[in-house]
Amino acid sequence: MAAYVIRRLWQMIPTLAGVILLIFFLFNWVGGDPAQVLAGKISNPEQIANIRKQLGVDQPYWYQLWVFVQQVFTFDFGRSWSTNEEVSKILLTRVGPTLTIMVPVLVIETMLAVAFAIMVAYVRGSLTDRTIMVICTTAMSISFLVYIIFAQWLFGFKLGWFPVQGWSESFSRNLLTYAPLPVMLAIFVGLAPQLRLYRSFFLEEINQDYVRTARAKGLPEKQVMMKHVLRNALIPILTNIGIYLPGLFVGSFLLEVFFSIPGLGREIVTAVNRSDFPVIKAVTVYLAMLTMFINLLVDVMYKLVDPRVSFK
């Protein structure tokens, strides 16, 4: 187990190096010049050169890459080029709101999706099943943008059930007042594909031999589904959640933009628009690391749900 974890950690190094290279290549090579944004509405070439010098973007590429690598390993990405705020502080303050939205989304969505999926998988082939699948497919086909525009207008404005947008410093208030509408939207949009996916997982399991064994033992259908099938289907579901988890931290930037949620997703969009390299680099590298750790975590958790997994 320990050896496995260490080996996995060791294997992260080349990937991380690749991420660093990719990001560096994208932003320092192909990307724009941040000095211009910082220079303001009037600036002469000398001033720009001065800014470039201060940002270090006048250094040779290899040197900038070296600085980047140092930043990665000291966890110090310095300050945002556009706001001068410490990058680490930006990330820390933004991650809260994003998670306030995305964690409920994940929890509720997963529970609903699993519950519905097991239900429709049980009645597979029936009219109910087919109807739900058609509804899912249709629901998936409408653009998220349409949902947001429409729901904000309808529930926020026309019906006034929720505030149109906003965020406060109080966690409970955010969760109870500001989060419900975006959370609902995200669940509504995310549920359909998850449901379809989980249904296929359940169907896959239902056709396994051990299910026949369970039936042959005389187990009632409910127990067959809820114990034998569910437990096995949890394995692919867990993988799926593992894939989904890193995205949790990015959040849905569309939601964050429309509902004025000061989250990470919106921050990323802004940073990208302003070529705020320290922020983008930090977000990307940290999220890549986080993703790798989550993958490791998920793999370790496999052991808990799937005894066949051994740490070789």
């Binding site: 724009g32 010049d33 211009q36 944004v37 910082l38 220079a39 303001g40 509405k41 009037i42 600036s43 002469n44 001033q47 720009i48 001065n50 201060q54 300050r79 556009s82 706001t83 001068n84 705020e85 930006i90 303050t93 991650v95 809260g96 998670l99 306030t100 964690v103 994940l106 929890v107 997963t110 699993v114 525009i149 904000q152 207008w153 926020g156 006034g160 505030p163 149109v164 906003g166 965020w167 406060s168 410093e169 109080s170 966690f171 409970s172 208030r173 867990l238 959640i241 988890l245 429309f258 509902f259 004025s260 000061p262 919106r266 802004t270 628009n273 302003r274 070529s275 958790m301 808990l304």
Partner: protein, 606 residues
């Protein structure tokens, strides 16, 4: 198992569980900014929104009267408006004693009084290369000895704040005297700019790189809470001495002035205890938040919703019933499209550049062919007036009699002009070629991140197609657009300018030859223009200078380095519980002059 995962995720959740202090009977004003702020170090910012916040945190030497129109300078921390001395090259001001900075841990519990040296320090900061001040240019070639100091700092890497220069003379604890390199009768306007404000050196040095988050000034408010790009909270500065509304310059016939005076006269300002500002960039949520009474003000109603708010030019009955009032403001700003005047763009021939009659004709024809009527009618929903010159109404030097028919939408004349100079379709593909037969293709760069820019580009594309000119609109990142315009990597691109101070000079400098590569994005170089511009700069306000301005504008029309766009009209909405509202053309915020009827709001929200 998935439950465990989520539990783990919940544990990660940084929950700022701080409970909002119950604002009992506090006057809390809530509003949105349409763009996110950058920070609050006054010498290091240039965007209206950050500067707007600084207006409340800091105090310049001079300011503008709240109600006076046209705008009028009044002393703020200075005791009086100084007279120009030494032929417009010296201005001496005395700071009122006893003005205190807001409390800050840096002061270690002591009260800190504002002194002349703080002004000197702040102005030097504009030229410290370390600060990368976007407004450094206003003190370039301005104060005696400052340029040299800046040059030395650029070389040594350290700005010598101790060095005494003749341009910034601190005569005693309260008196500061500015010596200018050459006469400038607009200099006092600089001293009224909301970011030309004194700061305490010990505070700046204590906070180092974090000065954006620690604005310590003498203004009526302090920054209480700041969640970048999402929330700015201001609260009353207990150290502030307070203001009184000045009724002298108010226009008794003006409804807004009357209402403001009624609610503010005799009261000690500011009255609002707390201001909460939420930057919301998208129009729909910003608009809906106001309609939902989540906000008390709506600054700059988005053009898209104008007909909802002001159908047929009058406030909608729904809003009227709520008691909402709309303040219509002609801002001292203008939008324009820049033609690149260089002969080459990125090594290739620039079809619109140059000063030959054909190229002038092409630019003029494009201007005539551009459907400005629809720009105003459709895109701006009538909330704009066609610019006749770059100088907007309300700015000193504005000439109401100046009418530029060369900027009107007139497709027949555009086509005729193109035909006259040989821009005709030779190969029959429906597009005009250049006079020498080479294909004509014009590139228009616009900001990829803005729906409005995209629509303006769309209009360009459509308008040019109508007169037979092929125009390709190219979306670029905002950052790149700024850069491309500065270094001349564009053919045509959109721009806008808002007055830093209310004088035509602030607009006309945009075409001054030596400014090429900085503010002169067109890279326009015309000797006649440059000579006239220099002359205007050395003249005080008066008919003589106005005549020069008129000549400058005529040259602009004739050579057409720009297509003049519009002066936008903004409509600001307020609920009836917001009292004392009036919008100032130069200053962005007015919190310190507002009052709030908390009871009325509570009643309306119920």
């Amino acid at each position: 198992m998935h439950l465990a995962v989520t539990l783990l995720a919940v544990a990660f959740l940084a929950a700022p569980a701080a409970q909002a202090s119950a604002a009992v009977e506090k006057k809390v004003l809530r509003m949105a900014f349409r763009t996110a702020e950058a920070g609050f170090d006054p010498q290091r910012i240039d965007d209206r929104y950050s500067v707007g916040v600084c207006e409340n945190l800091f105090e310049p030497l001079l300011t503008y009267d709240y109600l006076a129109r046209p705008v009028r300078l009044v002393p703020l921390v200075a005791e009086a408006i100084p007279e120009p001395q030494e032929g417009g090259t010296r201005y001496t001001l005395r700071i009122r004693p006893g003005i205190l900075f807001a409390d800050d841990p840096v002061f270690k519990g002591a009260k800190r009084e504002l002194v002349a040296a703080d002004v000197e320090y702040a102005i030097k900061r504009f030229r410290d290369p370390k600060n990368r001040s976007p407004y450094g240019w206003i003190f370039e070639h301005k104060l005696v000895g400052l340029d040299e100091l800046a040059d030395a700092a650029a070389k040594s890497g350290r700005f010598d704040y101790e060095a005494k220069i003749a341009g910034l003379e601190v005569r005693d604890r309260y008196i500061i005297s500015f010596k200018l390199v050459e006469p400038d009768y607009n200099f006092l306007y600089l001293l009224a700019m909301p970011n030309v404000v004194p700061v305490a050196r010990e505070v700046i040095e204590a906070y180092g790189a974090d000065t954006h988050a620690h604005p310590v000034g003498t203004g009526p408010y302090v920054l209480k809470e700041w969640v970048r790009r999402s929330k700015i909270v201001l609260e009353k500065n207990p150290n502030h001495r307070g203001y009184e509304i000045d009724a002298r310059w108010a226009d008794p016939a003006d409804e807004w002035d009357r209402r403001a005076l009624d609610s503010l006269r005799g009261k000690r300002l500011p009255l609002i205890d707390r201001v909460e500002i939420y930057p919301i960039e998208d129009e729909q949520p910003r608009f809906l938040a106001f309609l939902n009474k989540e906000h008390d003000l709506l600054d700059e109603t988005p053009f898209s919703f104008i007909h909802q708010v002001l159908p047929n030019g009058r406030l909608s009955p729904g809003l009227q019933a709520l008691g909402v009032s709309a303040y219509r403001e002609e801002q001292p700003e203008f939008t324009y499209d820049v033609f690149n005047m260089n002969d080459k763009v990125e090594g290739r021939e620039n079809p619109v550049g140059g000063y030959t009659p054909e190229r002038v004709a092409l630019r003029r024809a494009m201007i005539l062919g551009h459907d400005r009527d629809r720009e105003i009618g459709v895109l701006r929903k009538g909330q704009a007036i066609p610019a006749q010159s770059p100088v907007p109404p309300g700015v000193v030097g504005y000439d109401p009699a100046f009418r530029a028919s060369a900027q009107d939408y007139d497709p027949p004349r555009a086509k005729a002009l193109l035909d006259t100079f040989g821009y005709v379709d030779r190969d029959g593909d429906g597009w005009r070629e250049q006079p020498d037969g080479r294909p004509l293709m014009i590139e228009y760069k616009y900001n990829a991140g803005s729906q409005e820019s995209r629509q303006l580009a769309e209009l360009w594309s459509k308008s040019m197609a109508d007169v037979g000119i092929r125009l390709e609109a190219v979306a670029v990142q905002f950052v790149d657009l700024l850069k491309d315009k500065k270094v001349g990597k564009f053919v045509v691109a959109g721009s806008a300018w808002i007055a830093d101070y209310p004088d035509a000079q602030n607009f006309l400098q945009l075409l001054y030859g030596p400014n090429s590569g900085t503010s002169n994005e067109a890279h326009f170089r015309l000797d006649a223009y440059d000579r006239l511009y220099l002359r205007s700069a050395s003249l005080p306000d008066g008919p003589e200078r106005n005549a020069v301005y008129r000549e400058l504008n005529r040259l602009l029309l004739a050579w057409a380095p720009w297509r003049l766009g519009v002066h936008r009209i903004f409509n600001h909405l307020q609920y009836p519980w917001v009292k004392g509202y009036k919008k100032h053309p130069i200053l962005y915020t007015n919190f310190k002059y507002l009052d709030l009827d908390v009871a009325a709001r509570a009643a309306a929200s119920r």
